[in-house]
């Protein structure tokens, strides 16, 4: 049978809900019987799990399968992905005209925020006043190699100018040297400054420069420091967001903390895949194209 992708997605989602409900029942029964709970993480999820590879499920249905079994993990992804997107323009040569256009688009499509360099915060704050779109800026960006005092000062200035969200880069060299106290205090300082001013703080780990152990450690430190999100990438490093990294970060920080995927996300499919892998925010420059594709899907 031929199914359009929206129907397929709904089917996959519905099937998953049923499986999740069944697994929860089973888990309850196992616990009562003194058995270990049914493991919920599929070790081969990345290769075969429907949340990472929705096209497998889709293809199976297209090929004529009338029943699918999946493991749990698939969250309900709102068709309206705009609400998850930080509409981003961080190029150093961005003009005022481009920034203005960014804000217009954000208003129109109701993105979560615009994400811009600190010099553009004041303008964006003015343009977006009353729109419901937040102003996200970057601190210690993109190298993360300024001292604690400087990052905090930068965060404070940005918030004074109207920023509601601060994406800071960790001290990557310190992380690699296992100077965890320093890394944590760096994050905590910017987080404190943000929270004292009703702003939220996202922590960019620059995953493409890190080993998996370092990614885990960075996420743990960010969580300990009280940050609101961990974020994969600056977009200026050697690599952008990957499903592997997002899933690893989500697994590390648990279900409550924010996970932002950024860097190289250009299509609606990639956006949905990141969200399904555990992201709750997406940093993208191609946001308009993404939501237009979402409407057509």
């Amino acid at each position: 049978m031929q199914l359009d992708s929206r129907t397929l997605d709904s089917l996959v989602e519905e099937i998953t809900k049923q499986v999740v409900a069944t697994l929860k029942e089973q888990t309850g029964q196992s616990a009562a019987a003194g058995l270990p709970p049914t493991p919920v993480a599929c070790p081969r999820c990345e290769e075969h799990g429907v949340q990472h590879r929705p096209e497998i499920a889709r293809q199976a249905l297209q090929d004529g399968a009338s029943r699918l079994s999946t493991t749990l993990g698939l969250r309900s992804i709102a068709q309206d992905v705009a609400q998850y997107i930080d509409h981003t323009l961080l190029k150093p040569d961005a003009s005022q005209a481009q920034i203005t256009q960014l804000c217009d688009e954000a208003r129109q499509h109701k993105f979560a925020t615009v994400c811009i360099n600190p010099t553009n915060v004041r303008l964006c704050s003015q343009l977006l006043h009353g729109s419901g779109v937040g102003v996200c800026t970057v601190v210690g960006f993109p190298l993360g190699a300024t001292p604690v005092k400087v990052k905090s000062y930068e965060a404070q200035q940005a918030i004074n100018d109207g920023a509601t969200e601060v994406d800071m880069v960790i001290n990557i060299g310190a992380l690699k040297s296992k100077e965890y106290e320093l890394v944590r205090e760096d994050i905590a300082s910017v987080t404190r400054t943000s929270h004292n001013n009703s702003a939220i703080c996202k922590v960019i780990i620059e995953a493409a420069l890190l080993t998996d152990d370092e990614k885990i450690r960075a996420c743990q430190l960010a969580k300990e420091a009280g940050a609101d999100y961990v974020k994969t990438s600056t977009g200026f490093g050697p690599g952008g967001a990957t499903l592997h990294d997002v899933a690893l970060m989500r697994q590390t920080v648990g279900p409550e903390m924010g996970v932002k995927a950024a860097g190289g996300i250009r299509t609606y499919q990639e956006t949905v895949a990141m969200l399904k892998a555990g992201a709750t925010r997406i940093g993208a420059s191609a946001s308009v194209k993404i939501v237009q594709a979402a409407k057509a899907a």
Binding site: L90, P92, D93, A94, S95, Q96, A97, N117, P118, T119, N120, F141, P142, L143, G144, A145, T146, P147, K149, V150, Y153, E154, Q157, D161, V169, N171, I172, G173, A174, K176, S177, E206, L209, F236, G237
Partner: protein, 238 residues
Amino acid sequence: MSDIAHCIDHTLVRPDATQAQIAHLCQEACERGFAAVAVNEVHAQLASELVHGCGVAVVVAVGFPLGATSTRVKSYEAQRAIEAGANELDVVINIGALKGAQHDLVAQDIAAVIRICHDAGTLCKAILECGLLDEDETVTACQLAQAAGADFVKTSTGYGPRGATTHDVALMRKTVGRAMGVKAAGGIRTYQEAVALLSAGANRLGISAASSLQILLEEATRATGQASNGIELGEWAR
């Protein structure tokens, strides 16, 4: 002995640079007689301690590499860098403002940092990022930096779309005249490239750690016909 080491800022501004690597950088600079070590601000204090007394300056990058922080933040950063021991600051101009022809803003931004530098006896280099500019913008940026009192203009951050070219350097030298410093940086990997940029009018080169040693090795090889100055690249070869 090298003829060009004294023109080179021995540079490590990667975001994942560790203290151990900075220590290597400083040791090499002292041994080889580089003009300076160039580091991110988080390593300024360590570098300052390690090169103390060996005639090597400490260059710290500010507003780096995007130049898109406010004047207030660049100024604060500059002050902290100087307190930590910086002798020279390489500061990125507000590139967006330059391209938007907001010349006053560009000038005020760099002038604020220059004032802080000069009050402390520190040199200030203005980084233009030529790879993002057309020729007119490069000329304008040079003029604004010179009028604001910068000690050098510098071609690139090394993080932009391209590094230094002899064309950039020649244009900058022509614009600022003989007295002002011109630093070429970004993508300089061979002795030949280094010499070409110096010939085009640069009097300082920003070169990444591994490449600096490679260039001295090439220089020595040309001089004697065989590699003889005992440089080992191990730490930096990636």
